[in-house]
Assembly symmetry: C2
Homo-oligomer: 549 residues x 2
């Protein structure tokens, strides 16, 4: 069988080698033997996955792999969601690995671009999360999976705590393809709060010398929400949430969407929208969602991961979040991506660049950022067959008699914080494609999937555009004083405004003077703590930021 | 909180009621108390899911629910993948349930249409499988889930055997939303072969009085593959698999795709395609795949479910299938749908009706069949960002400079076995939509997602069509002597043939006279058993069918 030879020696041979390293002491392996363990179970050319998404990280195992002897381990093909840690790149720099398939490289995007351009890293493709998991099951199955959990028992059963995230999917992909699964855990205990990953799927447990790394990436300090964010959030509510009656939705991260969350109990409630919009979220437990939850605005939230400091609040609002009988959240990134794709009527996100056809990208010169989950949720699932008033309404506006449309909203200020225009004639993604050798430019969301673009100037409703020229005109009309916007006469914009394709704040009944932070249901981290009944415990860096505010 | 009141009383109250019924004997509940248990944990108006997909069924729990007292349990909202058993409809006929959200109703499609038309059942929507799971996590979360597994231990840990299917997803959706999970099992044992569902997620275990119902739906007897199927399979290989070098794919069920599987080691091998096509399947373990696997054609197969009789063969070919350390398959319908959507370059399926724009549907008068998984896999995932030669080639043919395309192939004879034409001017789906009150017609695969239509007359490549008129002409050219085909002159077809949009067998180097059963790598069920080295153990009904052949 061709596939057997390609996969290196079998599991039994590798486990026999590992038994010598671990001293036959069952599944537990001492952390000082971690690198030796990996050298015994991994073979040159193997596909290896290191758990690491945009929250928790199997950081100790990543470090242990980066310390391996390149004479023993080389030509590895890394398949992993996120490149977040220096050790994720060290395996390439040290000659242990040379191929990479991944989804996101936020913190390491500049370094990654360097390593690609000097030939140290050969990228297979940039994926969305869901797409990468799919390939782990089909043509990129990992021979060895290095995962991370809160606690293990001696049988290898794992408790992930609320940040379950990718662990079940990665473990399943490896354990049921003859792979070997190694888990880094914070502690080994006799009784777990609950089992998230059955011990039968786990071969080795390594207690990490310190708790695994985890980042509170979904905390937005209300003190940093600016008046422009408030204005854009008001426009989003008035131009999209309200007319389409959006009940099931997913928010990207950023201050614009944080502002929407904080305006639900105030501005949206004043417009009579309570119970009519934003009932069901697919979203991490954003602290900025607390006031809306406490106001009874939100029925429930399904989560990709969790958020540090939200543990006690989640337990109190177990009816709102996916909380188990043990009282803690179980998130699931794969299922949440499915939920975002198939059970949401709207995705709201942000971007760095938009071109004349509405294509958007976060790729900029010298950085290979990746996509994460946005492309998966930022498009109508063509396999969707159930309808909803929102979906039907969007489809009708687009002139589609056979099916509805998902709302895909891009919120972007006309200029980025560094002054660069957000609207451009040509995306940097094209240059990146040539320099990195990609067959197609890494576009995050395709223009024909975008339905609304919101800037501080106004809203462009692309559903109502019937030609590429109209789309372009609509986008230039909201691009403000960028070069992109100034190429167009005010007359052209006014024509679209009369047809409801372009909406200015005044067209939406919004007095720009009222768009201030005063409208926010919480203006500081402390306000969020208060709204939570004292249950939200912000991480230290946000507590100090509040003190400064 | 509005959501608390809507969800009925809480889990603790329900479990306290259940404790009285089960006699406090832990999680185990005697089968003769099953209906009483359900009456204690379910409340009027609850959303309830009964596990039942197109293979295994929680049949005993379905019967127990159907026996409930409608004075105690009424107005239930059933959320379930498949309506397969009479008891699935009995809950509506007896006034226990009145609302339904589902994905497939093959065996009960006629009866379901009757119950909808007389007002007994109100359908929310027809979904694909993946879409229904997504909604179980967001806005259709089940208050009570009735699931099924092979074995349980006294702690409620479950072993599903190879037909894992929907169980993990349904259990997770209920257990982590304050729901109650009840599992029907074939036996209670002290040690499980492996844990598929942790006992922490399971509240009650009911040993069924007999093994749960399961159907070998994916077994196609090679003796029933006809010469026409062979011809169409040859065209599929020559017109699609070969030129696009399709390595990752999903097959629907039917004799045409069974014929493709049986032609891989013969016709495809003769064309030099071994190792170049059909390397990675997302597919149930079809027995007709055995010869191709034994010929080394197939690297691996990821599975939605399993297939009866394949157990020993799967254990032998553990490198090909998702088999655990215990030696048995773990399938996963949700992950396989994700894999089919995101990691496959081609979907090949069949249908009952195709209209002039290539829209296809299995809906016919008086039957509400549903979709299953076809719509999810029969479209390009717009969130896909990785490329492959197949995907890029299809995108280029379609004239798309920004992205590739998934190949979506419909294989259909010009007439159905009952003589009805497969090509029609208007789909029955439109009439069904009006009579059942659906906002949109239940189209299985939209015409603009279909890339190739193959009949016994030829192949229409819709990727090369640039206008709706061209698509229509291409479809009429392969519609044979149906009224639909006869409306078009031979000249129009010849024009498209010269441009490679329409291909006849001779254009593909196929001599129709050679298209016979002699080309099949296995011609009987016995041949499959032999190819498996005696490990495939066909269910009784296929053994008798072979004897007749």
């Amino acid at each position: 069988m061709s596939n057997t030879s390609r996969q290196g020696t079998d599991r039994a041979t590798r486990l026999a080698r590992a038994a010598k390293v671990s001293g036959n002491s069952g599944k537990l392996v001492s952390p000082d033997r971690a690198t030796a363990l990996l050298e015994s179970i991994i073979e040159p050319g193997d596909r290896v996955t290191i758990e690491g998404d945009n929250q928790k990280q199997a950081d100790f195992l990543a470090k242990a792999l980066a310390k391996a002897d390149p004479a023993r381990l080389h030509d590895l093909h890394m398949v992993q969601s996120v490149l977040a840690l220096p050790d994720h790149l060290a395996v390439f720099e040290r000659g242990i690995a040379n191929r990479l398939d991944f989804a996101f490289a936020g913190p390491q995007s500049r370094k990654l671009a360097e390593l690609v351009s000097n030939g140290t890293v050969k990228i297979g493709a940039i994926h969305t999360y869901l797409e990468l998991y799919a390939r782990m099951l089909v043509d990129l199955s990992p021979r060895v999976a290095l995962i991370v959990a809160d606690k293990a028992d001696r049988d290898g059963n794992l408790y992930t705590g609320p940040n379950t995230e990718d662990t079940p999917t990665i473990a399943e992909a490896a354990a049921f393809r003859g792979g070997i699964v190694v888990a880094q855990v914070n502690e080994v205990v006799d009784g777990l709060p609950r089992v998230d990953i059955p011990g039968d799927w786990v071969d080795f447990v390594v207690p990490g010398p310190k708790p695994y790394a985890i980042e509170p990436l979904f905390t937005r300090d209300p003190a940093k929400v600016r008046d422009e964010n408030v204005l854009m959030a008001m426009m989003a509510i008035a131009a999209v949430y309200e007319p389409y009656q959006v009940r099931r939705l997913n928010h990207g991260i950023g201050y614009a969407t944080a502002a929407i969350e904080l305006l639900l109990p105030t501005f949206a409630a004043q417009r009579g929208l309570k119970g009519k919009v934003a009932n069901h979220f697919v979203l991490n437990p954003h602290p900025t969602l607390i006031p809306a939850i406490e106001a009874g605005f939100v029925d429930n939230v399904y989560c990709f991961g969790s958020e540090l400091g939200m543990e006690q609040y989640l337990a109190k609002r177990a009816g709102v979040f996916p909380v188990g009988a043990d009282g803690s959240l179980r998130s699931n990134r794969a299922l949440a991506q499915v939920a975002g794709q198939y059970a949401c009527d709207m995705f709201v996100g942000a971007t760095l660049q938009i071109d004349p056809q509405g294509n958007s990208s976060t790729a900029t010169k010298g950085r290979i950022t990746g996509f994460g989950g946005a492309p998966n949720m930022g498009a109508d699932a063509r396999g969707r067959r159930h309808d909803s008033p929102t979906w039907l309404c969007a489809g009708e506006e687009a002139g589609d008699a056979l099916r509805g449309r998902k709302l895909v909203v891009q919120m972007v200020q006309t200029h980025q914080p560094n002054g660069a225009p957000s609207f451009v004639e040509r995306l940097d993604a094209y240059d990146l494609a040539s320099s990195a050798g990609f067959a197609r430019p890494p576009i995050m969301i395709y223009g024909d999937d975008v339905t609304h673009v919101i800037t501080e100037k106004g809203v462009a409703n692309l559903l109502r555009c019937r030609t590429p020229q109209e789309r372009e005109t609509a986008l230039r009309a909201v691009a403000g004083d960028t070069e992109f916007g100034q190429r167009q006469s005010t007359d052209a914009s006014e024509g679209l405004r009369r047809r409801g394709i372009v909406m200015l704040p005044s067209d939406l009944g919004i007095d720009v003077k009222t768009a201030t932070r005063d409208l926010l249901a919480a203006r500081t981290i402390d306000d969020l703590v208060t709204a939570s009944g004292g249950l939200y415990a912000p991480p230290a860096k946000f507590r100090s930021s509040t003190a400064q505010a």
